[in-house]
Amino acid sequence: MSDVLNVRNLSVTFPSEDGPVRAVRGLSFGLRKGETMGLVGESGSGKSVTSLAVMGLHAPSARVRGSVTLEDEELIGKTDAEMSKIRGKRIAMVFQDPLSALTPVYGVGQQIAETILIHNKVSKREAWDRAVALLDDVGIPDAAERAKAYPFEFSGGMRQRVMIAMAMANQPDLIIADEPTTALDVTIQAQVMDLLAQAQHDTGAAMILITHDLGVVAGSCDFVTVMYAGRAVEQGTVDEIFSHAAMPYTIGLLGTVPRLDQDSTDALPVLEGNPPQMNALPPGCPFAARCPIALPICHTTEPQLQDVPARPIKPMAAPDHGYSRAEVEASETNGAANAPAPAPAGAPVTNSGDRPTTTRAIPHRAACHRVAEIVEHGWGHADIFEVPDLPIPEYSATPRLERDAALEITQLEKTFPLLKGALYRRHVGEVHAVDKIDLDIREGETLGLVGESGSGKSTTLLQVLDLVKPQAGSISVLGHDTATLTKKERKELRQHIQVVFQDPMAAVDPRLPVFDIIAEPMEVFGYGKEKIERRVMELLKLVGLDESHANRYPQHFSGGQRQRIGIARALALGPKVLVLDEPVSALDVSIQAGVINLLQELQGKFGLSYLLVAHDLAVIRHIADRVAVMYLGQIVEIGDVTEVYERPQHPYTQALISAIPIPDPAVERARNRVVLQGDLPNPANPPSGCKFRTRCPLFTTLTTDEQKRCVDEQPAMRSGGGDDHRVACHYARVVEVL
């Protein structure tokens, strides 16, 4: 069987103000029918540039060299008109943001029919019927009607389904999915990934899956190519890469991701530094500057991709770095199986899972001068990368209920009015964004708030930060009820509660130097000049930046460093409570770990209390002490983080946890899954009784009598067993999903 897609020595260079940018430098891979390759790497590593080169979508000023063949037809050098006949027909693409990928002024059915009409000689009627059939295939309910709807009438997940239907429309040979789930909620992500697999199965296409989420790769790819600074630094089957990565960068990437299925109180290993500038690449290995085991040769000669030598029969160094037991066993059996073979290249790969894969054996290759040593000693991330020590907080011995409350929320409610009419705006109803929630955070504690978008997490945060009297219920910060504050008291209290935002690009003013950014809150509170000067330097050091950085502008910093600047600003006034709104979700995987460690270190040092919103449940498990799961403005489950993750009782919690892929193919395949159907219901018109019942997987298994209770009666919070675990479900029971 020959390759559907064969990419050989692809290189792409762009002109820029600062000289040529070599975005892709010599990438090669081949893919056959039905195979999926994950293209993994940090932003700027050349993933998307590669996919655009395959599609022939680069601007004429870019220089594309090498060879890309689709079923032995050379694509490089084809004119745009020739490529247009291939794009959409033989190569289809699914983009990250389904809203901007669909034209807002045409109905979705028309847009799908258009792709069919362009490439096939069919009548409009036939194309339309086919579009409706495709929409039906991708699980759009009532497809004939919905095909007439416009993109804005669909939710994000539904729009991505439409995109997939469009990609499937002409039975392509190759589907390129560029971060297809990044913009979606985790529960929707699981649905879309299933659908992509289905689409691939139906069309028999090869697929390139571009993503930064290692969990997604583990769950759905056959092969992985890890890219760094425009080069493939490691290639192999998904099992090989995830269990026996041989290039320090890959090892680091896999090691720095917090794990959903593991409790950890230790710091994460840190991949220091940032990827190099693509217009000023240093000689030698591009990763050398960040690599703790770099040798002098690494700084002078760039290593070529080479076969990874056979592993020794028994790993010499016991992997004592938190690999799961299953993995250790797998590595031993694999090692044993591979040992007699002259090279691991041809060795069969064990497929322990139930996934019907066509995984063929491909050589495991890595670009590293020390690959032989790494394999010989079985070095893992803990051997190569530094794991910083975390200070042990003073209060850790005190039980939480004996500590002072930093933040108490009781029966908090926030509704937004629904208005209608252009001239005279009538009040037609309201949305309960936050519906009677109770929370408390003790000193030195972290509470994670999780839920899909629209569940009321951000509204809760903003209610707390506003420090004003809530519509109903009460908020008390460090013992001060916000309802009774005077203007002066409110300003005083602001010193003690500060916020760190999600987007490091938007969170600091690009027009101010770092010094002024960090000094800002102190200026507001009238600190003296000298004191500010001293404190800014102190803060810079505290968050791991250099004093000499004070005079630079935010544009000179990477995302992770900007987030550190944001954290320094939040700490300037010595707050007691920090509100963290998705503090690491916008950062690259290798940068995340450093910021997470910093947050934990600061908490230990200053006894901070964190209210943390994150959609990444693995991050929550790593940082938080307690977790609260929100659904449509209500808390459905709350408790100690280990307790909730290990023994989730609410079906929603179970679905959320099982929707997160685990970056370990063996574990991922063997997992117990609770799949959630559909989208969040319209919050303006929530279901009666239990708000979750319309999507509840448990509800469908109940008898009619039992169901009646869910329909009529809103479940109250009750103890879910354990010391600190409360759940709001009539029929709560433990389902382990890890």
Partner: protein, 375 residues
Amino acid sequence: MSENTTGTTPGRDPNKDATIVTGSASAATATSSATDATTAGAADATAPKKSGRLTRGQLTWRRFLRNKTAVVGAIGILILVFMAVVGPHLSYWKYLDIDTANFLQPPSSNHLFGTTQAGRDVLAMTLHGLSRSLLIGFFVAIVSALIATLVGTTAAYFGGWVERILLWLIDLLLIVPFFLIVAVVTKGFDASGNAAWVMLAFVLAILGWMVTARVVRSMTQSLLNKEYILAARYMGMSSGGIIVRHIVPNISSLLIINIALGVGGAILSETGLSFLGLGVQPPDVSLGSLISQGSRMATTFPWIFGFPAIILVILVLCVNAVGDGIRDALDPTSASGGVLTLTDEDEDESLVPTEVAIPLDAEDARERDIRKAQA
């Protein structure tokens, strides 16, 4: 960055690395020493490198310089400003002087641009008119941008009633009959002589900010969603503080562009009005009133009309070229700064792998292994 790595690598003896063969314990020691080096290296990697990253100012400047029209325009403006400022002091004739010996004389060594009917020196008048036009142009552009900023940011930031009232004011001023007001102000207020141009400048500024204010308002609205504004609010900063410190600097490129393009517009309005007799009042002269005087005898005595007209055209062309240049330089998506192309020198062979890396293909690999084994 490169000094840094070369500075640290000699310390890492290759022999020392060769000793790391017994597993993780010794590997860890090597790791920690290496990590320090990489940390330092990484911190430097992000620094604005001498050769690598450019500051925003440098970048804008470079893009501006690449636009040849704009550079020529900038040089032209500098020359004209120099002429307007220094010229009157160098020339023997002042603009009000009357040379009773020379009426309506063509250009000569005594009067480089010739004289008018009343025996006034056209060069001196043109230079004076040029300085009037420049003053009015810059004054109007800057003042109207200031008003636009104040109104636009205030309306967007506070919203509600404040916004509604300010928008109402904008709409009202937009429908006010422009000509009527200018006529009333410059003629009606007995603003004879020198005061007239000041009045004219104020009127032009007061009636020229509304469209910009609307743009400023919508830009401010988009900025309000930025998290640094929220952060400033949650640290207790006052509204005025947020506007001055965070909003205005972030819309400054729009304001700079508006000022640059507004200068040309204001000069044209002024000359147009003066031409019609509504602007600068005699005995004061501006380019507009001078052109108006000369136009009646443009065919017979062309120098009175021609020289000021040429100067005006050059001035407006230069101002607009610079305005366009600034806009393109500040707008990263604009291609008028010149499309960048790659030259053959950009191909760095050292980075292109010599050997073709083998693709993910088992057959290939097996064949190769067999060949290897045979060898």
